[in-house]
């Protein structure tokens, strides 16, 4: 993975010093509340319901064991012994003290981590495919490009006070696992007819209050132009994006109101003026790629026979292998998902102990690297099959082996009313209720791939509008109600879910989920997935049953 050079290290240390001064000035009354708000947000600090919240960046979801140990140490020392994994591959602390945050950032800087631009109206953490570098369908590893973009976006002097937040995602595979079409800019690595690598560029996608699928602004962008093209889009957005209404300030609204054709023209005109001065050199690409060379895999890994024997003898292990591991591009290795969705724990929460154990296990079994996913789980990307059984036992002991990856209980969930000052309704307790009605593993596995996404308000942090089943908390005169959507997807066939009908009271939400899944089981054809069934029959059969008793 990428290792900081001297200048990278100096930059984050100077940023810590800057924020330490800003925090002191604020606490001494030398910076206004409003002014400090803008500064702290750009360092990942929100003021939440109970306390400040600190969001730490995990660039494109990649971590090493040492960093994970530091995250554990921070949770233990400065917080209530846990942290929360977000849908943008970052982690959040819910209980730090404002005056201690500079110290936390200093500790992060020691392991090449930071919280720069994890909130605020600026360019956010670049996200990517959690299977980068190890999946079979990859055109090219996106991570070197992500790192180039990470650097360019970090403390960009011109684009740190944008109309609204700005998110970039990069996918290097034919399967989109990074929800790129729901980002302000989505980049797909593609090959042209001449076999050259470039980017298909999407613009104007986004979730939140007005979910919109990104549109292609450039089918093929030569890779050397990546930064100049980003700069052109950002400059047009910075100058022309709406600033009069924060709900209309995202680039998706600018693209929509301007029209794709005219917007493209504006960008291309701007780009023509700058592209020759901002080319990325082959040497720079090569230097970045050198940070992401494949590990030295054991060529005899596939010869092991114990793995097959264990799967034969132990059905719980076999189930876990089936649902929580995937094929690796190297024979004899598998990609392992650590489920952070144990039935009795808040989705995406990890304790210090779990973080430390994960770090140690990664060193033992997966070259000391860990990835976070946008579905709020972790991945060990490079595990030898001979090690899977021992790893499974160790993970199970930490409640990290629930065999539910991609299943209905692998729920994306925001912190909701329990922590967030924006939320209208709880989301964590809804997850608990759903887990209670879906406690039969065989039934869960029979249902198969279902993404349930639950957000506690229409800001949509849990991406409910692209959940196969989306659940959105709304406040009705102080009472929590929930609106359902069906048929959303953030993958290649990007779709925004259709509203099922009137919102449902909290006490009936889990029951409604069960009803929806029962309808699916009754009407599905052969191997049809939940999403395919919804696409085929529409929402009516589901609607009929869910509202039958109301």
């Amino acid at each position: 993975m990428y290792q900081y050079n001297h200048n990278d290290q100096i930059l984050i240390e100077e940023r810590v010093a800057q924020f330490r001064r800003q925090t002191e000035q604020f606490l001494n009354g030398e910076i206004s509340e409003d002014g400090f708000r803008a500064l702290r947000l750009r360092n990942g600090v929100y003021i939440q319901t109970h306390a400040p919240m600190l969001r730490v960046a995990i660039p494109y979801g990649l971590l090493n064991a040492k960093q994970l140990h530091t995250l554990a140490h921070i949770a233990r020392t400065y917080d209530k012994n846990y942290c929360h994994v977000t849908t943008r591959q970052n982690v959040q602390y819910n209980w730090p003290k404002l005056e201690q945050i500079p110290d936390i950032l200093a500790e992060l800087a020691q392991v090449q981590m930071h919280a720069i631009q994890t909130s605020g109206n600026c360019m956010r953490n670049t996200t990517s495919d959690h299977l980068a570098g190890v999946c079979a369908d990859e055109i090219e590893d996106p991570r070197p490009y992500c790192e180039i973009i990470r650097k360019w976006t970090t403390l960009h002097p011109e684009f740190d006070y944008l109309p609204r937040k700005f998110k970039i995602a990069v996918s290097g595979s034919t399967t989109d696992r990074a929800a790129t079409q729901f980002h302000d800019i989505g980049l797909h690595l593609v090959k042209n007819d001449a076999g050259e690598i470039g980017f298909k560029v999407f613009v104007g996608g986004g979730l939140g209050r007005t979910p919109i699928i990104g549109q292609v602004i450039r089918p093929f962008l030569e890779k050397k132009h990546i930064l100049s093209y980003l700069e052109a889009v950002l400059r047009i957005y910075n100058l022309l994006g709406r600033r009069d209404n924060k709900y209309k300030a995202r680039i998706k609204i600018l693209v929509k109101e301007t029209g794709l054709e005219k917007f493209t023209q504006l960008v291309e005109t701007e780009w023509a003026l700058i592209r020759d001065n901002l080319e990325v050199s082959d040497d720079y690409f090569a230097a970045m790629k050198a940070h992401f060379t494949p590990f030295e895999y054991d060529s005899s890994a596939a010869q092991d026979a114990t793995f097959a024997a264990h799967t034969q003898e132990n059905s719980a292990f076999a189930t876990w292998v089936k649902y929580n591991t995937q094929a690796h591009k190297v024979d004899g290795y598998r990609i392992v998902f650590l489920s952070i969705k144990a039935p009795d724990s808040p989705p995406g929460d990890l304790t210090s102990e779990q973080l430390d154990v994960i770090a140690d296990l990664s060193v033992k079994y997966s070259f000391g690297e860990i990835r976070s996913t946008h579905r709020q789980n972790f991945v060990f990307a490079d595990v030898k099959q001979v090690d899977l059984f021992a790893l499974w036992q160790a993970l199970a002991a930490q409640k990290l082996a629930t065999p539910n990856i991609g299943m209905a209980t692998d729920i994306i969930c925001c912190p909701g009313l329990d922590f967030c000052s924006l939320a209208n309704a709880g989301s964590i307790d809804i997850t608990k209720d759903i887990n209670n009605v879906l406690d039969n593993l065989d039934y869960l596995h029979d249902i198969g791939d279902v993404n349930i996404n639950i957000s506690g308000c229409m800001n949509g942090c849990a991406h409910q509008s692209v959940g196969h089943i989306g659940i959105l908390g709304v406040d009705k005169k102080g009472v929590e109600w929930y609106q359902f959507t069906l048929g959303g997807s953030s993958s290649n066939e990007a779709a925004i879910g259709e509203r099922l009908g009137p919102s449902i009271p909290k006490s009936d939400v889990a029951q409604a989920v069960e009803t929806i899944l029962n309808v699916y089981v009754q009407i599905r054809l052969d191997e049809e997935s939940f999403l395919e069934t919804v696409k085929r029959v529409g929402i009516d059969p589901f609607k009929e049953k869910v509202y039958a008793s109301h």
């Binding site: 011109e158 109309p163 400059r235």
Partner: protein
């Protein structure tokens, strides 16, 4: 009154004229609207000339006049409005403006470093010491 120019504190030698204010002697700065309507009269003025740009103004409208101007002020009314940063970039880089670009108005002292990176070389502020201090926040950058 003092301002920061090229990181140093110096005395201010400019007067900003409201659109209805009479022209005074010395270096004067006017709004883009006033510049556009009174340009012919203003260029006969004996002192130096400057134009104040609001965030919504299009700096491209000033390109032909840049050689006549010794100062361009970027007036920030809300520090969250980052258009001034792009305006500075375009003036300094695209149009190779050589004169003074000055940030004025309601920006944060902590934004001065970014301003300096996009071509702003002068700062008018109620918090001069704080602003001057932030100009050295970073010794490295990526852009």
């Amino acid at each position: 009154m003092q301002v920061i120019k090229n990181k140093q504190l110096i005395d201010n030698h400019w007067t900003y004229l409201a659109d209805d204010a009479p022209i005074v002697t010395g270096n004067i700065c006017v709004s883009l609207a006033r510049w556009q309507s009174e340009k012919n009269q203003l260029i006969t003025h004996e002192g130096n000339l400057g134009v104040r740009i609001a965030p919504a103004d299009d700096v491209n409208q000033l390109v032909e006049d840049l050689p006549k101007l010794a100062l361009i002020e970027l007036a920030v009314s809300d520090f969250a409005d980052g258009r001034s940063f792009s305006q500075a970039y375009m003036l300094r880089n695209r149009h190779a403006y050589q004169g003074e670009i000055r940030a004025v108005g309601n920006y944060l002292a902590d934004q001065a470093f970014y301003f300096s990176r996009v071509g702003v070389n002068a700062f008018e502020s109620e918090h001069l010491a704080q602003t001057q201090n932030t100009l050295n926040d970073f010794t490295v950058f990526y852009q």
